[in-house]
Amino acid sequence: MSSTTLGAAPVPAVPPKIETPFHRFVAEFAASPIAVGALVVFAIIALVAILAPWIAPQNPYDLAVLDIMDGRLEPGSVGGTGITHWLGTDDQGRDMLSGIMYGLRISLTVGAGSALIACLVGASLGMLAAYAGGRTDSAIMRLVDLQLSFPAILAALMILAFLGKGILNVVIAIVVVEWAYYARTVRGSALVERRREYIEAAQCLALPTHRVIFRHLLPNCLPPLIVVGTMQIARAIALEATLSFLGLGVPITEPSLGLLIANGYEYMLSGKYWISFYPGIALLVTIVSINLVGDQLRDVLNPRLKK
């Protein structure tokens, strides 16, 4: 049920006029050229990530095609295997362009996957806490306290020690670390909203609880949730990078953007900037485009910004 929450949210929030709500939503979104541009950039990035195995010059995860003798080549050099490394190579002789394409796959999977799951889990629990109140609220909020006080890195270390390394495990670790933020945010705004007249009115009409929560309460709590959500995608990607920096993230032979940055970071002082710089740019562009789209979504979806 909760998986339909986000998609269903705008429907009741936007009173249908002449067009369908979807048309109206698209039209409002398209009002900002920057947001549309960001969406296009993001689409390209997503496409590159999806098509990486077919368009990358090299399979950077196959140790057999890497050669340390090609390590740390400058951008534009031709390696021993005859490939031109337009963005240079890292310390293992991995082609940076291919590494970034494959790394995007992993970073996007980890970032979007964990943020989405954490958002669903956190928002549901936060909403429940605010709406139910009493013992349920206390129980959930103490769980939130527990979670927020547990340093992310420690939690991730333990989870990854339990589960071993791997992309899925990183997602799980990040969800465990991040859900509480959503819960806390949603509860905060839901507490305010549920005292508002329209909720009381809905309750007076004896509408079923889930209907009140998901069709009335949630849409009105969405703006802060989207702010937090788009930031948390970025945060999830950055957290994954930090975990990789601490040696806990994805497997070293299948680097994400974060791990590429972390690996190359050690070479920054000696001027081999490309190992860290280009993945950094890729990460930056990805996150900026996600956020620009998210910003516009928030404005469009916010019922209170409507005149």
């Binding site: 306290d145 006080s149 333990m158 933020y181 905060g188 702010v227 950055a238 990078a241 970071y265």
Partner: protein
């Protein structure tokens, strides 16, 4: 109110208890402290002695009970590594971290609020767009990377600020503080900025979102219609309204900052709790890990309490009784 506070305290105790159990299990899952601490040429007899000496020969539940018994008497155990009471180690390091976290929070508010306010009031101006674009950098760049860049630019290239460490400290009330001397303060600037980057962005975005929303609210329209000066509208009516999410998040983030200062502290060699905990994790120094987390949990409970109380002050619609 007293009942409410009491209930929160009992709940806090429950959280602390659960936390200590989790850490016990967690450390057990990660690895064997003796294997890490012991010299590689120590033979089996020496290993067994070390295991006994650290109390790790008992079954896990018995170790936990021993720990609980001592904890009730205020003894959280001795660090495996330092052979000193774990709690004292943490409290020794706490001022450094608090100082850094406060510095980062202050920086976030001083920088973030005005920028966010501006971006919210003039959403279409080029400056606002630049502010918003800049704020994205704040939370998309990995902390460790920004930290090193700060050191490289401001310490290595420009030589304006010291690269690492805590610098001079002044002892006040038996605690060492570094913000009281220029030398100490200059050591604080880079790590505080590094730690606050994420929060600055957060404050900017929350403020902007809040302002934009508030400007469309009836009470603001009404206030404007009444002919109140724009300044008064912004600083009294709008400001009060947007403070709630900002206070919540900054409050939450303060705890988070303390808990997550790990990376910043290790890059800037800042001798705080975050550095202690990451070092302790690296050698599975369980007593320090447990004690640290208990301290952090207590701190969070207090912060959340303060945030909740601030809520009621700022927004009378939220009542403490309603959620007890």
């Amino acid at each position: 109110m007293t009942v409410y506070l009491l209930r929160r305290l009992i709940q806090a105790a429950g959280v602390v208890l659960a936390m200590s159990l989790l850490v016990f299990l967690g450390v057990y899952a990660i690895g064997d402290p003796v294997e890490i601490l012991i010299s590689p040429d120590a033979d089996q007899i020496e290993r067994e002695r070390a295991i006994r000496s650290l109390g790790l020969d008992l079954p896990l539940w018995e170790q936990y009970l021993v720990f609980l018994g001592k904890a009730l008497q205020g003894d959280l155990g001795r660090s495996f590594v330092f052979n000193e009471p774990a709690l004292r180690l943490i409290l020794d390091r706490m001022p450094a971290t608090l100082e850094l976290a406060v510095g980062a929070t202050v920086a976030a508010i001083i920088i973030g609020l005005p920028l966010g306010l501006y971006a919210g009031l003039r959403p279409d101006s080029a400056v606002s767009k630049a502010i918003m674009a800049g704020s994205i950098l704040g939370f998309s760049l990995p902390t460790f990377w920004v930290g090193l860049m700060l050191i490289m630019v401001f310490a290595v290239q420009l030589g304006w600020l010291p690269s690492t460490g805590r610098g001079e400290t002044v002892e006040v009330l038996g605690v060492r503080w570094s913000f009281l001397t220029w030398n100490g303060l200059s050591h604080m600037i880079l790590p505080a900025i590094n730690l606050s980057l994420f929060k600055i962005s957060l404050v900017i975005r929350l403020t902007r979102a809040g302002v934009r929303e508030a400007m469309l609210m009836d009470y603001v329209k009404f206030a404007r219609a009444k002919g109140l000066s724009p300044n008064r509208v912004v600083f009294v009516h709008v400001f009060k309204n947007i403070l709630i999410p900002v206070v919540t998040v900054v409050g939450l983030e303060f705890g988070g900052t303390i808990a997550f200062s790990v990376v910043t502290e290790s890059i800037f060699a800042w001798p705080g709790m975050g550095k202690l905990i990451i070092d302790s994790i690296n050698v599975l120094d369980r007593p320090v890990m447990v004690a640290y987390l208990m301290v952090i949990v207590l701190m969070f409970v207090v912060i959340n309490l303060v945030v909740d109380i601030t809520y009621t002050v700022l927004d009378p619609r939220v009542r403490l009784e309603g959620k007890a």
